[in-house]
């Protein structure tokens, strides 16, 4: 199965809202070897001027995963998960993720390029909060292996 070039430009519907809990921030922070108190201790986060715990910078990958799952599950995309290799990641944030946020992601396929039997796919993932305000944008480049 090859990647369908017609998915370039496709915009997927927003993912189901993801409620960011304190324990999830602590769990994710431990998983990336974080030691900064603002991700673990509410008083420290408040002392630093935040309303609650602050998530590590790569935390929105949780929501990105859900958006990418839509793309892979799309029967017309032609993407087999076993053939996917994460090539690059780029993120810019408007504000940090704070416990209590409700995040959803909107994925747009911005580029599909053939590389011989393989495909390079670029996806922009806009992370939005419950009011629809922009939290961050993540850009993932995925290398999709094809038949040699």
């Amino acid at each position: 199965m090859a990647v369908n070039p017609a998915i370039e430009g496709r915009v997927y519907p927003p993912t189901e809202p993801y409620l960011v809990g304190r324990e999830k921030i602590r769990e994710f922070a431990r998983a990336v070897f974080a030691t900064n108190p603002t991700s673990f201790d509410v008083d420290s986060a408040r002392a630093a001027g935040h309303t609650d715990l602050v998530a590590p910078p790569t935390f929105p990958v949780i929501v990105q995963e859900r958006a990418l799952a839509q793309l892979v599950a799309d029967p017309t995309s032609g993407i087999e998960p076993v053939n996917l290799v994460h090539s690059t990641e780029h993120a810019t944030s408007v504000r940090p993720v704070i416990a209590g946020d409700e995040l959803s992601a909107v994925l747009t396929v911005t580029n599909v390029t053939s590389r011989g039997p393989h495909t390079l796919l670029v996806a922009d993932i806009e992370i939005l909060d419950a009011t629809g305000d922009h939290v961050s944008t993540m850009t993932s480049t995925l290398f999709v292996r094809g038949e040699e």
């Binding site: 999830k24 769990e27 994710f28 431990r30 998983a31 990336v32 070897f33 974080a34 030691t35 900064n36 108190p37 603002t38 991700s39 630093a48 935040h50 602050v54 998530a55 590590p56 910078p57 790569t58 990958v61 949780i62 995963e65 859900r66 998960p81 076993v82 290799v85 994460h86 090539s87 690059t88 990641e89 780029h90 993120a91 810019t92 944030s93 504000r95 940090p96």
Partner: protein
């Protein structure tokens, strides 16, 4: 190490060494929701032609970024990051893997209050992330 308040171009602002084990990979799989079995099953890694179970690229990038967060003290100071996943971090079942991160100031804009920190992330003597950069707010 340099204090976050006064950064000079070329300064090494932070460095860290992380011991990544199979337990770290399982922990990250659960935390991130990325349950691709190449990150915890030797038989699957072998079947797809990998030299062994490898760390999630976003775990390597996550801990590399964390080196800068721990220096600054707050993730809110990070305004962006990027990396290319150039080489896998192979995590041995017994000894794990040691990932080393060195963070240097590559651009400092005092007027705008921003800086770009470039990361050198190595495993087994080789860089595993390419063009790995973190943008920070100086205030």
């Amino acid at each position: 190490m340099t204090s976050p308040g006064r950064i000079m171009l070329g300064d090494t602002v932070a460095k860290s060494r992380y011991h990544v084990t199979r337990e770290s990979l399982v922990r990250y799989a659960g935390a991130s929701g990325d349950f691709n079995s190449i990150h915890y099953r030797d038989d699957v890694a072998d079947a797809v032609g990998l030299p062994g179970v490898l760390a999630h690229g976003m775990l390597t990038l996550g801990l590399a970024t964390q080196c800068v967060v721990d220096w600054l003290g707050d993730p809110a100071r990070i305004t962006g990051y990027r990396a290319r996943f150039t080489k896998p971090v192979i995590v041995a079942p017994d000894e794990g893997a040691v990932v080393e991160v060195v963070a240097k100031a590559a651009q400092v804009d005092e007027a705008a209050g921003t800086a770009r920190i470039d990361l050198t992330v190595t495993f087994d003597g080789h860089a595993v992330l390419g063009k790995s950069q973190v943008w920070i707010s100086l205030r």
